[in-house]
């Protein structure tokens, strides 16, 4: 089996040690580290995401896979930085939060997990986060995308508020917002002027990449 395939398998198995040793092997063989990540580890993580959504894998197993991948990536990091051959976080920074008043964070955490292994640096503000805090943080660090989650009809209402606030501050163009959570629909997201929506975490990665690239 070629090494890239082995890397993917090691991530799927959540085997951190194997990920590290494969990463070292890749370095010894002078493989391009960015390609190794994209074609090896990330491919494994894609599979994991799919298996999770279909119920074949549980959240802790997905967390373990992500940890394993991070272990391998850490080995490759110095090489990437020294050669300047690309970036580990090619899509930039994503600010994530569950909105004000809302304690439901499992969905947001799943989105975070998949984004963090898909080329994003994540700034997770946690749950029950005030609109102003989200905006301040996103502005401060020049986020490439903001992702907010709401699970209640009584907290969804803070999403349009967030978007209006960004508009009023004149920074809506720079800070694309994607929204999600069970009661949020694609139509509603459009209606309130959100830049993106996804119904699950795998979709969230796609949406976030699209928005960050703009």
């Amino acid at each position: 089996m070629d090494i890239l395939k082995q890397m993917a398998e090691a991530v799927i198995a959540g085997d951190a040690e194997h990920c590290v040793s494969l990463a070292k092997q890749a370095m010894e063989n002078n493989l391009d580290p960015v390609e190794v990540i994209q074609q090896g580890f990330s491919k494994g993580m894609d599979t994991v995401g799919g298996k999770f959504e279909s119920g074949e894998m549980f959240l802790p197993e997905m967390m373990q896979a992500a940890e394993a991948m991070k272990g391998g990536v850490a080995v490759l990091k110095p090489a990437i930085e020294s050669t300047g051959s690309g970036s580990l976080t090619e899509f930039g920074k994503a600010v994530l939060a569950t909105i004000q008043g809302d304690m439901h964070d499992i969905g947001k955490n799943i989105v975070k997990l998949l984004l963090s292994t898909s080329g994003f640096e994540i700034i997770d503000l946690g749950k029950d986060v005030k609109v102003a805090v989200i905006i301040d943080k996103a502005e401060e660090i020049h986020a490439d995308v903001i992702g907010v989650s709401a699970l209640m009809t009584t907290t969804m209402g803070y999403m349009p508020e967030l978007i209006q606030e960004l508009q009023e501050l004149g920074i809506k163009e720079e800070l694309p917002v994607m929204v999600g959570g069970a009661p949020v629909t694609e139509e509603w997201a459009k209606e309130i002027g959100a830049d993106g929506y996804a119904k699950d975490a795998v979709g969230a990665v796609r949406t976030a990449k699209g928005l960050a690239k703009k």
Partner: protein, 460 residues
């Protein structure tokens, strides 16, 4: 006994750790314990009749709670209890609770596995959002479910006085007051003015809103219950615990609410089952809970009507019924929407499973519990009837298992694409607040079908 005050002190003193480390600790503990106690989901035994499995599950859950306790989000500390503290707290918990007043009073009590006594029954629209102009009618329909011992309405959708209802916003307080008074009005219109509320306010959750609304002046009865939710898995925060002093000193009923997610931090059905039991201990210590409202769900399907979920419901209920007298008000969460055959089957399967396993019944979360106006009553009524019949027939777990499997075979494959069904206004005469003939016919035909499967309706 470890008091609430002692618990608060421990919240400031326990082991400090990051939330994500606590999540990892839980999974590690759970994984070891299911192995140590040999607990394994068997798709052939949805309602296992193995007492030793139930007892092992209870033992494992006590050990789990000893190891991981609960996590306090405000102080980032793990709050732990010894085995003897857990045993003592469990022993001192109430074994009955009385809802409502006068002739509409309803009692819930601790049941045993294969108990011949009726399960208590709560008719509920859970949190299904409904617009203001329909609110009273929907609540009235729910309060009219004949076998209900208590009820809970639906949730007020979107706006109040034209202002979006938002958590923590002043309008939440106003909506909560309106909500309570309208539910009481609904009970009156249903001809059951004293019917208790098993969870007082559903559109509001903030302590301010609940304390503001829970007054007799607005229609709340003294025994109406306020609920405190734990945050999955095994987490609490002061924003939820801060109701407790008011609840205890005012005598308000306290319900602990726990919804562990299968596929989430506790892993599969086995680990989530143990975590479900551990949440009962959390409710006693952190909330002073009088009774417990467990609603385990499959993280992806947002329901508990699948085989592994019903197994989980059965085993955790048996474990508690055999080893404690805690009040277990088991919530059924269905994937399908109103007026579909599937919804009837899902609720019937849960009612059979939970009743023979020693639980009481709360029905139901409908259409994955999130679509506006997807709420209905005859399916809930069916769940109550099935629960009563099963108990009165003296059905055993051995007899329940093939029945539940027969029901599962009618719907389980459709869970991922479950039909959304109809809206309340499409199945109800909104003037008379009665089910439309088509909908009644569906209920009748399901009744016949269930009778053919062996349910003796003459016992009702």
């Amino acid at each position: 006994m470890v008091t609430f005050w002692e618990v608060l002190e421990r919240c400031g003193k326990g082991q400090r750790m990051q939330e994500s480390d606590y999540d990892a600790l839980l999974y590690k503990s759970v994984s070891k314990l299911i192995e140590k106690y040999d607990i394994k989901f068997d798709p052939g035994q949805i309602v296992p009749d193995d007492d030793s499995l139930a007892d092992r599950a209870y033992e494992a859950a006590v050990e789990l709670f000893e190891q991981v306790g609960f996590y306090c989000l405000d102080t980032k500390r793990v709050v732990r209890f010894s085995r003897s503290e857990i045993e003592e707290r469990v022993a001192l918990a109430p074994d009955t609770y009385t809802w409502g007043e006068g002739k509409d009073r309803g009692v819930t009590y601790s049941r045993k596995v294969e108990d011949l006594r009726d399960p208590s029954f709560v008719a509920s629209g859970l949190g299904v959002p409904v617009p203001q102009d329909m609110f009273v009618k929907v609540c009235q329909a729910i309060a009219s479910v004949p076998l209900a011992d208590a009820f809970c309405g639906v949730s007020l959708q979107d706006t109040f006085r034209g202002i979006p209802i938002r958590a923590g916003h002043p309008v939440e307080v106003a909506a909560a007051i309106w909500d309570v008074s309208k539910r009481r009005e609904a009970a009156r219109l249903a001809g059951r003015p004293g019917l208790g509320l098993y969870a007082m306010i559903s559109c509001a959750e903030s302590t301010a809103a609940i304390i503001a609304a829970a007054r007799e002046q607005f229609g709340a009865l003294p025994a109406d219950v306020t609920q405190n939710g734990a945050i999955a898995e095994l987490k609490v925060d002061f924003a939820r615990m801060n109701k407790v002093p008011w609840q205890t000193e005012s005598g308000a009923g306290i319900a602990g609410l726990y919804g562990p997610l299968m596929g989430g931090y506790a892993g599969g059905p086995e680990g989530t089952m143990l975590t479900q039991i551990a949440h009962f201990f959390l409710g006693l210590f952190a909330f002073n809970a009088d009774y417990h409202i467990p609603f385990p769900i499959d993280l992806h399907q947002v329901c508990n009507s699948t085989s592994p979920m019903l197994w989980l419901v059965s085993v955790y209920s048996q474990a508690l019924a055999r080893n404690t007298h805690l009040l277990n008000e088991s919530v059924s969460m269905a994937a399908a929407g109103p007026a579909t055959r599937m919804l009837f089957y899902e609720l019937a399967a849960h009612a059979v499973t939970a009743t023979v396993s020693g639980a009481n019944l709360v029905a139901a979360g409908i259409a994955r519990d999130k679509y506006p106006e997807r709420v209905s009553t005859l399916e809930i009524q069916t769940a109550s009837e099935v629960g009563h019949i099963v108990a009165r027939m003296g059905m055993t777990r051995k007899e329940a298992n093939p029945l539940v499997k027969a029901l599962l075979s009618k719907y389980e494959k459709d869970v991922p694409d479950a039909p959304l069904g109809k809206k309340f206004s499409e199945i109800y005469d909104m003037e008379k607040v009665t089910p439309l003939p088509e909908y009644l016919k569906l209920y009748e035909s399901i009744r016949e079908e269930l009778a053919k499967l062996g349910l003796n309706y003459s016992l009702l």
